[in-house]
Amino acid sequence: MLDQLNAEQERFLAALPEIADEDALYQLQVTYIGKKGSITGLSKKLGKLTVDERKAFGAELNRVKKAVQAALDGRREELREAARARDLARVEDLTMPAKRPPRGSLHPIRIAQRALIDTFRRMGFDVAEGPHVEHANFNFDALNFQPDHPARDMQDTFVVDDRRGSEDLVLRTHTSPVQIRTMLGRTPPVRIIAPGTVFRCDDDATHSPMFHQIEGLYVDRGVTMADLKATMIQFTAAFFGRSLDIRLRPSYFPFVEPGAELDMQCPFCERAQGGTCSVCKGTGWIELGGSGMVHPAVLESVGVDPEVYTGWAFGFGIDRMAMLMYQIPDLRQMFDGDVRFLRSFSN
């Protein structure tokens, strides 16, 4: 019996150094001292021994089991140590190209438009929209463009074929019909911006037949041209983060009277780092767009009494604003979908 026990222990001790990982070590443990292990199994033979023999053998069996357990624990410790050392010796080069999720981007026009909308929203403007295919009546007549006046030539208009040969429907040439739509639907005070796509029959290096405008309209009692100036100063300060001067120059748009070109002090001059600013050509001013006091005829066309209410309107181009802000050199780049251009806007 004792010999058998010693033999098992010898066998165990011989096998132990061959063990290379914890799984094998566990198997070895099961083989010798597990429930059905060969050493554990010897205890079943205790019954065949005398009381004294049983006592002596039992003590010996316990000693061997403990020794085996201790050897196993020792070996486990060694294996863990070795594994840890191997793990620590591992090298992974994290300077290799990163594996990253694909990066998307929003179109610069959307980015600019959102920035404009956010700014005007904070200034208490509602956002209104309108259809792209518009009644000529809303696009022109209601805006005080007389039917056969050359002012209609100011905007090269795409006429929509309504298959009746009429010219009643057009692609809107400006966002101004939204003024009419909005005022038909409510009574002043009206304070809206109308961003959106507009179309003109024009295509060259600096004009695209489709572009984007943002229209502003404020109609209330006692609204003045001075208020327009104040609002534009507030806007540019909020939008560009610093105070910029605003300049109004008399001009003509049929739906406003008096009408004015709206210039702002150039916020980009510092990019030129002392040289001549290419944005404003060194003049210090940038043309934002057109503006003016809503023509009384426009108010009348939507049933608003111009003796009671006055208002102003402005409109400027989003595309050009985006080109200036994001330093886009060429208008056409914005519309051909080249991802190498678009990914500039993934921040």
């Binding site: 999720p101 259809p131 295919v133 003045t224 001075a226 300049r247 008399p250 190498r340 678009l342």
Partner: protein, 844 residues
């Protein structure tokens, strides 16, 4: 319009005799709304050109076409070689560029030898001096000019500054120098000094002019000028016209052009001897009446065209262009000069119909002066005809038709303050308005000015127009920036549609796609493969497209994304992941001819009703994925599902029934995207591989795997508000299931069948104990598709689907035993439901 600063200065007298320099003029003009687009100094280099006198001419011994000239430059005799054939005789005067002169074109004059003959200087042509368009010969000067004088001293018009100004369509008066000068004078508090006029103290001869269309012609003045000597205009006049961009023709034509640019009033000179009976009739053309214009074009006129006819045939298209027959030429001796006011809309329509756009029609259609200015222009021309063409006025006539009535307007000074937000004093207002020609009387109500608009300002109709004038001249420099106080709180609203759109754009961007923005119009051929039944008849086309590729409004976004794909693959090898979010357009119903409703432009009609006549504009989002590491159909599905879930929607991807398949997608690689809200599920879009035929047609046939998807924004329900889910407190237990199914059976159907079977197999909850159910844990669904295996061990046309079913009870841990039973029931139920005659489904 081009404005000569010199000419302008001669028309304005400034206080204290101050002079007008070009930069002052430019800033004044821009300040009053006549925006200066360009400032162009002229005549540089011409200062050194002298009058030279021909003293001797002899042929060049070596070259037939060259002449050796001995020329007196005021001090010495110079030898010059000249190649011109129009050299004057000895004693004649020419423009001489001495050695050292630098011509406007940049050429520097140096002593040189021409075919062996020395030449010290050059005899110049108009063209070389850039003072005229004639380059055929040298410029011959009047013999009376003294040799050695500087040319610019004799013709100061050479050194001028030309301003290019933008004249808005409301300002016909600014289409002549006098009108522009009037603005400058008012702005600088100066005085308008009008040029010298002629007189027409001659008998009226009634029969000269008969007006038969008084509704289209408000005034017609005719003057007979006799003894006309047609010839070349003097150099100063030719130079001035050249500076304004006009070609000098002969003195008669040049005078009418000169007056046009001075007074803004178009005039026309007829060769009277070629007018039948020597008289004119202003009448409508008869239908089909032929007319040959002086530009050589031939027209067949209609009944709405107004003509100036003689006793027989049309000799001019009124206000648009004269006729070739009665054009003044070198033989003309007697002319009939016309100064008229034609109704603007008539001229505009006529010019449009005949596609003739002239300097005259440009002015008439904007509205020229029908009053004092018209007489002034005529008398100015008489003066010039007298001095430059030796003509005398022998008879005149005037016919009157319907004229606009200059409006009389009460201008309230309080209203000025009310509109502008700054006051303009009564005296200042009066000064400005009077300076502009407005007749101002202060006999109206207190605090207001009673004004009558001048006949040269057809844009002034009402009070606000006068306020604009005050703004223009008082200036906007002092306009305060003063916000007004809103009369009522303004409530902002947020359009839920816009929120969905913007959030979807963000989500698609987050999914790694770049946003593309294409034109709303496209080529009809590019739409064709995408059109469904009846869609072709609903396309919205443009009547006047720029070109065919931009001629119809898009009905789908995908053609534009394919354009972008083409652009990208042609330029670089990178993956293309794009989306566009925009509108598509279609008539609500198929349009055929006259069935469409007519537009009633009554302002009273509600907007909704009026908008029923417009095409539908729907917002769509479309995606396109191609190339890159892991682009397959499921990546495209993943993008859309991810984006829609990001908006809070519960998304389902299901196979299309065969009849509902999207024709432009690969028949075997497509799926519907639906959104579940409550008990209902609505299809909002589709996704799949672009049909290989379309890829091939687009020249992208060698590119496998172009994945696309579309979401219809109006189909999306309102953005759901997130609801916190209860966390399961007890663990779920899962069972795997491997089913062998036909390849064509979509995984989504298998999942549905299992869920349906589970609902049927659920133990009765009234039994008291919380029963085990097939339930997800809120992160993983109740049924998870783990793997799709095809190949070894699975038959042809079949696949093995490994699924994991998650079981859970709400209030306790589920036991193995109950799950075992439930699982078997569910699996058997699902297999029965899925199996069919052609569909064998079995456990593997």
């Amino acid at each position: 319009m081009r404005i000569s600063c010199q000419w302008l200065s001669s028309l304005v007298e400034l206080p204290n005799g101050a002079s007008l320099d070009p930069s002052l003029v430019a800033s004044v003009l821009t300040g009053v709304g006549l925006e200066v687009d360009a400032i162009e100094p002229t005549g540089a280099g011409v200062e050194s050109i002298l009058v030279g006198e021909i003293r001797k001419k002899e042929p060049h011994p070596e070259a037939d076409r060259l002449t050796l000239v001995e020329l007196f430059d005021g001090e010495t005799i110079q030898s010059v070689v000249c190649g011109a054939s129009n050299l004057p005789e000895v004693g004649g005067k020419v423009a001489f560029a001495p050695v050292g002169a630098r011509l406007p074109g940049g050429m520097e004059i140096a002593p040189r030898k021409v075919r062996g003959a020395p030449s010290t200087g050059m005899i110049c042509s108009e063209e070389e001096l850039e003072i005229g368009g004639d380059g055929d010969g040298i410029l011959v000067l009047p013999e009376s000019w003294e040799a050695g004088r500087r040319l610019v001293d004799l013709v100061p018009e050479i050194c001028d500054t030309i301003l290019e100004i933008g004249v808005t369509p409301n300002r016909p008066d600014a289409l002549g120098h006098v009108g522009v000068a009037r603005d400058v004078a008012v702005k600088l508090d100066g005085r308008l000094t009008l040029p010298e006029l002629g007189a027409a103290d001659v008998p009226v001869s009634e029969e000269l002019v008969s007006l038969e269309a008084g509704d289209r012609c408000g005034r017609y003045l005719g003057f007979v000028l006799g003894g006309v000597k047609v010839g070349k205009s003097p150099l100063w006049l030719r130079v001035r016209l050249h500076r304004l961009g006009l070609r000098a023709i002969n003195n008669c034509v040049d005078i009418t052009n000169y007056v046009l640019f001075e007074q803004g009033q178009p005039l026309h000179a007829f060769d009277r001897e070629r007018l039948a009976e020597g008289r004119v009739v202003i009448r409508r053309a008869t239908e089909g009446e032929p007319f040959a214009a002086l530009d050589g074009s031939e027209h067949e006129l209609g009944g709405e065209d107004l003509v100036i006819a003689d006793a027989a045939i049309p000799q001019a298209l009124a206000g648009v262009m004269g006729g070739a027959r009665s054009m003044v030429d070198a033989e003309s001796e007697e002319i009939l000069l016309e100064a008229a006011w034609f109704a603007p809309s008539g001229v505009r329509a006529s010019a449009g119909r005949r596609s003739i756009h002239s300097d005259s029609s440009y002015r008439f259609e904007r509205g020229v002066d029908f009053g004092e200015g018209l007489d002034r222009a005529a008398l100015r021309a008489l003066k010039l005809f007298e001095t430059l063409a030796g003509a005398t006025c022998t008879a005149k006539a005037e016919a009157l038709g319907e004229l606009p009535r200059p409006p009389s307007i009460d201008l309230r000074l309080s209203r000025v303050h009310h509109v502008l937000g700054m006051p303009v004093g009564a005296r200042e207002a009066e000064r400005i308005l009077r300076g502009l020609g407005v007749v101002v009387k202060s006999d109206g109500p207190i605090g207001s000015l009673h004004c009558t608009a001048p006949s040269h300002r057809p844009d002034i109709h009402r009070e606000v127009d006068l306020i604009e004038e005050l703004m223009r001249f008082h200036g906007l420099e002092d306009l305060p920036a003063e916000a007004s106080v809103p009369s009522a709180p303004i409530v902002e609203t947020v359009d839920p549609r816009a929120t969905v759109r913007e959030r979807l754009a963000d989500a698609l961007c987050e999914a790694g796609l770049h946003e593309h923005l294409a034109y709303s119009f496209t080529h009809p051929d590019k739409l064709r493969p995408f059109l469904g039944e009846g869609e072709a008849g609903r396309i919205v086309a443009l009547s006047n497209p720029l070109r065919v590729p931009l001629s119809v409004m898009r009905t789908h976004l995908l053609p534009d994304l394919l354009d972008a794909l083409e652009v990208n693959v042609a330029r670089h090898p990178h993956a293309v992941r794009l989306f566009e979010l925009g509108r598509v357009y279609a008539w609500a119903e198929e349009r055929s001819g006259s069935a469409a409703p007519t537009f009633d432009p009554t302002r009273a009609a509600p907007v909704d009703q009026i908008d029923g006549l417009l095409p539908e504009e729907r917002e769509q989002a479309a995606i396109l994925l191609h190339g890159g590491d892991a682009e397959d159909g499921r990546s495209a599905v993943g993008v859309l599902v991810h984006a829609l879930e990001r908006l809070g929607y519960q998304v389902r991807v299901e196979a299309f029934a065969e009849s509902k398949r999207i024709p432009y997608l690969h028949p075997g690689v497509q799926a519907a995207i639906s959104i579940i809200s409550g008990d209902t599920s609505a299809c909002v879009g589709h996704v799949g591989e672009l049909h290989p035929d379309i890829a091939r047609e687009r020249g992208l046939g060698d590119r496998a795997g172009i994945y696309v998807g579309v979401v219809e924004l109006r189909a999306l329900p309102a953005l759901p508000v997130p609801v916190a889910r209860e966390r399961p407190r007890f663990p779920a237990t899962s069972r795997d299931l491997s089913l062998e199914i036909p390849t064509v059976l979509p995984a989504a159907k298998v999942v549905d069948a299992l869920i349906t079977a589970a609902a049927g197999a659920a133990p009765d909850p009234s039994a008291g104990e919380d029963p085990a159910q097939l339930l997800g844990d809120g992160i993983a669904p109740g049924v998870e598709v783990v793997e799709d295996y095809r190949g070894r061990g699975v038959g042809e046309g079949r696949r093995a689907l490994l699924l994991r079913l998650h079981y859970r009870a709400v209030g306790r841990t589920v036991t193995d035993g109950e799950i075992h039973k439930l699982h078997d029931v569910i699996v058997q139920g699902a297999i029965e439901a899925l199996s069919g005659p052609e569909l064998e489904v079995r456990i593997r």
